[in-house]
């Protein structure tokens, strides 16, 4: 099957040769007076593990349901694998694998029967090849031992793993997973993340989550959604580099007042954020001139004998900090 490609639009920060497996233009969904999703412009690059991040109720599941045709947009448009999500929803569903947030299968079926049922939507035969594929996927998700048991007795983690296996049955170019690790114990979460990493070579993975640790571990691109609005979309390395330019982190002991005043006067310092932790003081110093900062920050602070510098280095942002700040800023704007 040759599918239409969606190229990066002119002026996009991504390279012009990059293909997108998901592309939306002002996609929106309202339920009555409530806007679940507003003007979403999403670009998911091919061959990425793309995390769709947001607090509960942000609109992540709504977006995913729009992409797989389970619900219809009230505004805007979108393509998945180059196919229009409304007009060519059948083609979209042929090319993707989907795992719902709380996957529900027919409880009277076994795991193997569930896989066979899913496979028959795509393939008529040969039977041995289909069985081989089922066996392979069940072993990847470590359900081969339980493949002939009715799924009624499966745990949440087993159900989730079966969900990923059935979503992969048709060799999808794009795997869409809605909160694949939510509600699982640490071991179950670890299993799901490992499976996702192992599938990276086969499919682009677009998954929603609110578990930040998982995002930082397996994803390479992130979009952050809050209250139906997208507030950021970038490669994770770019996001982690911070949005406020270069910053340095210092941990100090003693009286920091004079050092604070002296450093604040430097023209290349754009801001100092101070936090007290027990008897220590932590600073994040944002700067406009990195070369000056490298040379002078430490000297300026250490010129004051009443201050001891316990730690100094380039500020490494955690995704959680970025996420919390962006969501907070977004909430302040909408209030």
């Amino acid at each position: 099957m040759v599918r239409p490609r969606v190229q990066s639009p002119r002026g996009d920060s991504q390279t012009s040769q990059q293909s997108f497996v998901i592309s939306t233009q002002d996609l929106g969904k309202t339920y009555g007076d409530v806007a679940a999703l507003s003007s979403l412009n999403l670009r998911v690059p091919e061959n990425s593990i793309f995390a769709f991040l947001g607090p509960n109720g942000a609109g992540k599941t709504t977006t995913i349901k729009l992409l797989v045709g389970l619900t219809r947009p009230t505004s805007g448009s979108g393509t998945v694998l180059g196919y229009d999500i409304v007009r060519n929803s059948n083609e979209v569903r042929r090319g993707v694998g989907y795992l719902a947030q709380h996957p529900k299968f027919y409880k009277e079926m076994t795991a193997r029967e569930t896989m066979r049922f899913a496979a028959r939507f795509y393939f008529k035969g040969p039977r041995d090849k289909i069985e081989e594929r089922i066996e392979h996927l069940l072993s990847i998700v470590e359900l081969d031992e339980k493949s002939d048991r009715p799924i009624e007795g499966f745990s949440g983690g087993e159900m989730q793993r079966l969900g990923i296996a059935q979503a992969q049955i048709n060799y999808p170019e794009l795997l869409i997973l809605d909160e694949p690790a939510a509600g699982l114990d640490p071991e179950g979460r670890e299993d799901v993340l490992k499976i996702m990493e192992s599938l990276r070579s086969e499919s682009t993975i677009f998954y929603s989550t609110h578990i930040l640790d998982d995002v930082q571990r397996v994803s390479d691109t992130v979009a952050i959604l809050n209250k139906g609005h997208m507030i950021a979309q970038a490669p994770i390395s770019q996001l982690l580099a911070g949005s406020e330019g270069v910053a340095y982190a210092l941990t100090l002991e003693g009286n920091t007042q004079k050092a604070y005043a002296r450093l604040s006067e430097e023209p290349w310092v754009t801001g100092i954020t101070e936090k007290k932790v027990k008897d220590k003081t932590q600073w994040v110093v944002t700067v406009s001139d990195d070369s000056m900062a490298k040379k002078k920050i430490l000297r300026t602070v250490m010129a004051d004998d009443t201050v001891d510098v316990l730690d100094f280095g380039l500020k490494q942002y955690e995704l959680e900090e970025i996420f919390m700040k962006m969501v907070e800023d977004s909430n302040n704007v909408t209030q």
């Binding site: 099957m1 349901k65 797989v68 045709g69 389970l70 619900t71 219809r72 059948n90 569903r93 042929r94 090319g95 989907y98 719902a100 709380h102 996957p103 529900k104 299968f105 027919y106 009277e108 049922f117 899913a118 028959r120 939507f121 795509y122 393939f123 008529k124 035969g125 040969p126 090849k129 289909i130 594929r133 048709n170 060799y171 170019e173």
Partner: protein, 247 residues
Amino acid sequence: MSRSKAFEPVIETGWRMGFSNLARKELKAWFGTSAWWQQALMWTGALGLFSSIGFQEPETGLMIFYIMAFIFPSIAVLVVATGTILEEKDSGSAAWVLSKPVSRTAFVLAKLLPNSLNIAVSMVLIPGLVVFLLAVLFGAAPNILAFYVSLIPVIMWQMFLLFLTVCLGTFFEKAGSVVWLPIIFIFFGANLGMNTTIGPFGPWGLLTVATGISTGTGFSVYPLIITIVVLVALGAAAIWRFSRHEF
């Protein structure tokens, strides 16, 4: 994607997409489990028992069979039909299936057509055969051909209840909103059918059609024609509504 070239792809397109797999699943869930013979046994026992009481008078025994066949298995039809769409919408299994290359028309038709066959075999044809054998045993045997043709209106009645319940299941989310109308038809359908004014003008008239065929006393074709029209309309309404359902 190239790895999938080793497989023979399903070629169903448009409204048929996914139908054969879904229909196969519905038939297997019935005939591949104990459901078919348990239902057949239950309704054969109930209808055989009631009919045999009346077989001292040949026509009374058959009349009891038709009346009971219009009421008792209908309750099971209602249960099957409610579960088939309402529970699937509620549990999320319908959303899972519809995330595959499946048309919503195929989804609804796969609920209506295979279940019509399941119900016809287990709730009408098998009990009907046993009741016929009982009638032979009691020396009250009707014409075999006429008797079996008379089961067609009985099957159509059960299909009417199935289609009605499934259709209502596509419009409403609660079982209470879905079952009240079919229940009225189950318990008052026979009375409506015997009413000389409105009797021939609805599926409820199928009871008099069945007895008319079996006894050779003649019957109106209106209930048959109207029921076919109603089945098509209910099926179309169910497809129309389900195509607009948002998960």
